[in-house]
Symmetry: C2
Subunit: 338 residues, 2 copies
DNA sequence: CAATGATGCACAATCGATGGAGCAAATTGC
DNA sequence: GCAATTTGCTCCATCGATTGTGCATCATTG
C-alpha cells in the first residue's frame, strides 16, 4: 500500500502481476477485450492496481493519445451567485459529456486572464470558454494561433462564437417593472437612476440602452447625472449615492448584485425617505426577495447559456453573431409594510 | 500564424530556427544561459516561438520533470459566499506561490468527490485540499496510497492534517449574542431553536455543542424539539419552521446561509409576530446585514484558514490534531423599526 | 605551436502510457 | 496428424520536453 516517494506506474504493476506493461495498460484503460487479454489476467491486474492505489499518469497518457478532454473556463469572480452558478453547472455539464473541466478565477485582471488562458492551453485544453473576460478578443486570438477553440460567454467577442444574455431586452423589461411599480406605489413616473457597472463594458452599455429605450418609449428624459455607472464594487455604488437624500420619490436601476450591496448599504442608512425609494436589480440573489424597496430582479438563464455554449464546442462552422439568451424577470410582491 | 490542426512543438521551432530541439527547449524554459546558448540564438528562437503562438505541452514537460506544481482543491458548492471566497483566495495564494491551482466542485456528492480526487491525482497533483468533503478520510486514504499529500479544510479528518474553524467557540458566541439581544429587545431569555445542518456532520455537531453550552451556562434547558437540524437546503429549513407561528418571542440559531434563505422565506410570510423574532446565522452573506430580525452573523476567517493550509503543504511532520481558526462575529446594530 | 580552457551547440536517453505488429501456444477442422 | 485458426500475450516505437554527456571550434597561455 505504501509507496514511499514515487508513484506506482504500469511498470510496477506489470512486475507485480508478472505481465507486460502493455497488457497492464490495456486492462486499466478498458481496451483489454479488444486486445484479447484473458479475464484472469485482467482481474489480477485490476486487483493489484487497486491495492497499490494506482492512478494513471494523465500526463503520459494524454501525451501519447494526443487528446486531453480538458475544457477550460475562465471566470472573473465567485462573489456573486451568477458566476458561482456558471462554474458549478459548467462542471456538471462538462463531466456529463466526458470532459475534464478546469475552472479558474481571474479577478477581472486582464493580465491574469491572459496568463490563465495560456496556462490552460499549455495543459492542452481542447476548448476554452472565457466568461465575462475583460479582453476576450486577446484570448481568442491567442487560442486561434494555437489551434484551440475558444468561446465567449456573457461578453461578446469578435473572433470567437459568443453566447450572451439578452441584456437589452431584460434591462428594458426591468426598467418597465420599476417604473410601473413607482407609478403604482408612489404615483411617480421617473426618471430612474442607473447605478453601477462600467459604460465601456458591453453588458452595461446594452443594459443602459434598454434602460433608456424604455424611458424614451414613455417620453421621459433621463438627465446625464442619473447615469451613475461608476464601476463594479459595493463601495463605489454607495459613494455615488451618498449625497442622495430622498425627499421625493426615487427609483434605481441597479446593474449588478455587487452594486446592489452598495445600494442597500446606502438605503439602510437613510434616516428618512426610505419609503420613497424603489429599485430593481439586474442579476439575481436569493436574499434579494427580502430586501425592502426591491421590486424585482433579473435572473440570467445560466443553463440555457451553457447549453448553447456546449453546442458550439467542437463545431467548425460556429456562428459569428452573438447568440442571445433571454433572461427571466422576477417581480417581487408589493411590500405594504415599507 | 495558422497551424492547421496540430500544435506547434519544439521540433517545429527547431526546424524554423535551424537549431536543435534541446536548444529550443532550454531557450523556452529559461535554462539557456546555464546551457551556454548564445544570446543570438535565444533571441531568434523566442521570436519564432512568439510568431507561431507556441505554448509548451505541459503534459510532456511534466512527464519528463516529474513535478506538476498542481495543487488541487475540492469544494462542495459555489452557492454561498464562504466556498466562493475559499476558491477565489485559494487560487490567488496558490498562484502567488508558483502553483497551478485546480478547483473542482463536487455537489456534496461522496462518489463525485472521490472521483474528482482520483482525477486530480491522475493529473499528478502534488497536494489535494478537500474542503467540506462528506468523506474526507476516504479521500486522504487514497491520497496516501498514491503518495500524495492531502489536507482537510473546514472538516476534520483522521488521516490528514486538518484546518477548521473553531465552530464551538463561534457558535457559543453567536448563541450568546442572540440570547443577549432577545433579552434586550424582547425581554425574553430563550431557549433558542437550532435550525439547519446535519447532526452527523462534524461542524453541525460542534456548533450545536457551543449552542447548548451557552444555554447551559445560563441555566436554560433546550427541548429536543428545538434542535431542527433537518439538512442543508432552504426548503427544508422553511418546511421545518412551517408550523411555527410566533405569538411569543422566538429566537433562532441558523446554521448556514442556505438555511437562512429558508428562515427568511418563512419570516417574510408571517402575517403577524415577525417583530417577536430574532435570529443569527453561522456564516456570512453581505445581504445579511439588511435582513430584519437578523442580529448578527459569524464570518469564518478564510484567509487565515488558507494560510494555515498552505503552511502545511510540503511538510512531512504535519500536525494530526485539527488546527482551529477563530471566527469573526459580526453583530448588527439594533434595528428599531421592526 | 602545442596544451589548456572556454564557448556553443547537438545527441540521445528518459519520463509513463499506448497501440500496431508480431509471435508462440492452444484449439479447431478435416 | 498436420495445417489453419484463434487465443493470449509481448515487443517496441511513439508522443513532446528535458538534461547529462560529449564534441567541435575558438581563444588564451607559456
Amino acid at each position: 500500500m505504501e509507496k514511499g516517494t514515487k508513484r506506482t506506474t504500469i511498470y510496477d504493476l506489470a512486475k507485480l502481476a508478472d505481465a507486460s506493461p502493455s497488457a497492464v495498460s490495456s486492462v486499466l484503460n478498458g481496451t483489454w477485450e479488444k486486445r484479447r487479454i484473458s479475464k484472469k489476467l485482467a482481474a489480477r491486474v485490476m486487483k493489484i492496481a487497486e491495492e497499490q492505489g494506482y492512478a494513471v499518469n494523465v500526463q503520459a497518457s494524454l501525451l501519447r493519445r494526443e487528446r486531453s478532454n480538458i475544457v477550460g473556463m475562465i471566470v472573473p469572480k465567485y462573489d456573486n451567485r451568477y458566476f458561482g452558478e456558471i462554474a458549478e453547472q459548467f462542471e456538471v455539464m462538462a463531466r456529463a459529456k466526458g470532459f475534464f473541466p478546469v475552472v479558474t478565477c481571474t479577478q477581472r485582471d486582464p493580465e491574469l486572464e491572459f496568463e490563465a488562458a495560456k496556462e490552460l492551453i499549455s495543459y492542452q485544453a481542447e476548448c476554452l470558454i472565457s466568461t465575462g473576460a475583460t479582453d476576450p478578443d486577446r484570448i481568442s486570438a491567442f487560442c486561434s494561433a494555437s489551434g484551440v477553440q475558444s468561446i465567449n460567454l456573457d461578453l461578446p467577442g469578435k473572433n470567437a462564437p459568443s453566447v450572451i444574455s439578452d441584456n437589452y431586452s431584460a434591462a428594458k423589461d426591468l426598467t418597465k417593472l420599476i417604473l410601473d411599480r413607482c407609478e403604482e406605489e408612489l404615483s411617480w413616473s421617473g426618471p430612474l437612476r442607473f447605478v453601477g457597472g462600467r459604460l465601456a463594458d458591453h453588458n452595461t452599455a446594452a443594459r443602459l440602452e434598454g434602460f433608456l429605450s424604455e424611458h424614451s418609449d414613455r417620453g421621459i428624459a433621463v438627465p446625464d447625472s442619473y447615469i451613475m455607472a461608476t464601476g463594479y464594487s459595493a463601495g463605489k455604488a454607495a459613494t455615488a449615492l451618498d449625497s442622495l437624500r430622498p425627499d421625493e420619490p426615487t427609483g434605481l436601476f441597479v446593474n449588478s448584485t455587487i452594486s446592489l450591496e452598495g445600494v442597500v448599504r446606502w438605503y439602510s442608512q437613510l434616516h428618512s425617505g426610505a419609503e420613497l425609494v424603489r429599485y430593481g436589480c439586474f442579476d439575481w440573489d436569493p436574499f434579494g426577495t427580502f430586501l425592502p424597496g426591491n421590486v424585482g430582479m433579473v435572473e440570467q438563464d445560466v443553463t440555457m447559456m451553457l447549453n448553447k455554449a456546449f453546442e458550439v464546442i467542437g463545431k467548425v462552422d460556429a456562428p459569428t453573431e452573438p447568440i442571445l439568451v433571454p433572461c427571466r424577470l422576477r417581480a417581487f410582491p408589493i411590500n405594504l409594510e415599507i
